[in-house]
Amino acid sequence: MAKGESSKTGPKLTRRQMLRTGALAGASLTLAGPATAAVREMPESWDEEVDVVVIGTGFSGLAAAFEAAKAGADVALLEKMRTPGGNSIINGGYLSVAGSPRQAEQGIEDSSELLLQDMLKAGQGLNHVELARTVAEQSASTLTWTIDEVGVEYGGMTQLGGHAVPRSYTTAAGSGSGIVVPLLERLGELGVTPRTGTLLKHLIRDDDGRVKGVMVHDRYRFPDEASGTPKTIMARKAVILATGGFGNDVAFRQLQDPRLTEDLDTTNQPGATGEAIREALRIGCVNVQPSWIQLGPWGSPDERGFGVAPYFVIGVSALNGLMVDTQTGKRFVNELADRKTRSDAIIATGNKAIVFCDAPGLAKAAESPSVKLDRLFETEVLTEYATLQDMAAAHDIPLEALQATIDDFNAAVDAGEDLEFGRYMPDDQLKTGEAPFYAVRVAPKIHHTMGGLGINADAQALDLASNAPIPGLYAAGEVTGGVHGASRLGSCAIADCLVFGRIAGRNAAAEPNWA
């Protein structure tokens, strides 16, 4: 078969190949199922040959490409969209680190074991512990790597929901671009440039079980699946899938959770779709916990996508303010709970919730360079109210109940403990209640897909039939499942992506050359 034809005609298998594949996978001799579908005939010749093919240019893909190239591998770095960076370049820029220099400076005691316990608690025990432990244990060395080798600049360190202690570094850029951009620069120095507009169409897995290359569409134009020119690239060592999650793939996400209809907004970029996961499943990967799809509790119905509301909810109100049900005027959840707990609670109010802070609370938050208050005020997402009465009237909140909520919280600050919801209370916790007030309406938005391809701690993709690693195939980041269980903690995505991206890159470069 001529190169590229396979995409149009589907796999053409001989009976002999099917039998061999079935035998290889330990499956019966039925003609259906992933084992028989897996094999795609090897191209007679490849259009290009490299050592390592990395698919995706978010945190995982860039970290993988960096380590592979640094180890001397010839790397092809592919990106389907017109810009590199995927969700990573628009993400909030929080990196979870247990046992960091800044924690030491501030006298905060932490450990990778404590971070792991936080991850397992939020993940409701569904986490694949070895994977979660790998992220926690390598978080500190990963921070060092971003500073020393990549040149990332950080702003501050903050406390995020579900974490027992402040441990989340924020990039000086206030966005994941603060990591993506320097990584792209370092890769450029290593001679690796993302090939944008290149869509993965097929992983090419030989009947010996090994993934040996990819068929892509060159000059692809999102979202036209048929656009571009078919091209085959041989991966002499390995293919690394770093294609991200599927939060913006309405059909695929509804297969996993039918409640996540097209009416729900998402923080994800338009390219966060599931075609790469589908292809990986087709060649015999295993899907882990795909129904656990996270809604970010800091979205606002008054803007599209991630927007600017999270800067206020995460950087201001969760630390120096409160979240109340506008129907009752009462708090209804720990403002620093994990995302799932908060999102579920907000949804239970019928999305009738606001977060707010007072004047001193805003002023304290403004001290952090990562909180983009100017952008918040440029939009109509954040509203200032001269008095508590004004805010209550604007959102139809019973005023007396709201005042009582504030009084109760201030009493808890005095007591040094939030008996009602168990919120983390630092020594310098501010009381609230001094006008003017600042408020944002909140409504959860689809944010992260915890589920995905099964991998082991070496970032090797696992075979559905055997549970053994698929030779020549690695996966890292949001395309994988298991690290975060039922719910990912904020700032653990970057840690996960960088840790497993680097592992995948190093291991891929160390693979023997099958050709």
Binding site: R82, T83, P84, G85, I89, I90, A173, G174, S175, S177, V180, V181, L184, Q269, P270, E303, R304, G305, K372, R375, E378, T379
Partner: protein
């Protein structure tokens, strides 16, 4: 009907067409091209506001008369006369080479001055009115003598940027070192003339709700060709994710 009456009737017809076109834009809502209300990136070529209705209602254009199909809402011509290549098929210059090379491309590739004769490509396409003066030898500046960038006859949005470049003496080879097939020239080349980026950002500092040339997402989102397309209408790439109704050249 004397000539002047005919002239005015044609002008009225033209105005009705434009008004309907503008109404259609408004009805279509903000996702369609909204009315311009903000300063735009100029690249030093053109900028400003367009008020077709007001200006045309003011009087009779001395040169164009009452008929100008381009300003009348016609799309850019997609197919050149004589079955020649379209602006979208520059990737295959060999097509032209088989039938005689395109004069503008030829001049551009050989470094000679482009001919700038619209009719050499658009003969029969009626991109110009019958009363339009001959364009041979005209430069973009000559065009702007009548088609003032901020004025009612502005060519903004009516003329592809590739044409603006060619008419300004910036031929294909200036951007496409390899013309067969042409490669994306890359932002560094654009900025060699139009940059640096900080200068462009300063020009759009007052654009609401945010400066399109100061993306928090960094340099990957400051690639010129994400928005400013040369051979097809430009796109507001930011609107992929944001409700930013930028108007752009």
């Amino acid at each position: 009907m004397d000539g002047q009456q005919k002239h005015r009737r044609l002008l009225r017809l033209c105005l009705v067409t434009i008004t309907l076109a503008l109404l259609a834009v408004f009805v279509a809502g903000p996702q369609a091209s909204p009315p311009r209300s903000e300063p735009v990136l100029t690249f030093g070529l053109w900028s400003g506001h367009t008020h077709f209705g007001v200006a045309l209602a003011d009087g009779n254009h001395p040169v164009l008369g009452g008929h100008h199909p381009v300003l009348g809402g016609k799309e850019w011509p997609r197919q050149l006369s004589g079955g020649g290549p379209t602006p979208q098929t520059h990737g295959n210059l060999s097509v032209w080479q088989g039938t005689g090379r395109h004069p503008v491309i030829e001049a551009s590739v050989t470094g000679q001055n482009p001919l700038h004769d619209c009719a050499s490509c658009h003969e029969g396409d009626a991109v110009l009115s019958e009363t339009h003066p001959p364009t041979a030898g005209m430069s973009m500046n000559d065009c702007r003598a009548c088609h003032v960038p901020d004025g009612p006859l502005s060519l903004e949005g009516k003329l592809s940027l590739s044409h603006t470049h060619i008419l300004s003496g910036v031929g294909c080879a200036a951007c496409h070192e390899n013309t067969d097939p042409p490669e994306d020239p890359g932002t560094a080349l654009c900025l060699a003339c139009h940059g640096p980026l900080e200068t462009l950002a300063a020009k759009t500092a007052d654009v609401s709700p945010t400066n399109p040339h100061e993306s928090p997402h960094g340099p990957p989102f400051a690639e010129c060709s994400l928005c400013h397309l040369q051979h097809e209408p430009s796109e507001n790439f930011c609107s992929t994710c944001h409700d930013f109704n930028f108007n752009l050249p």
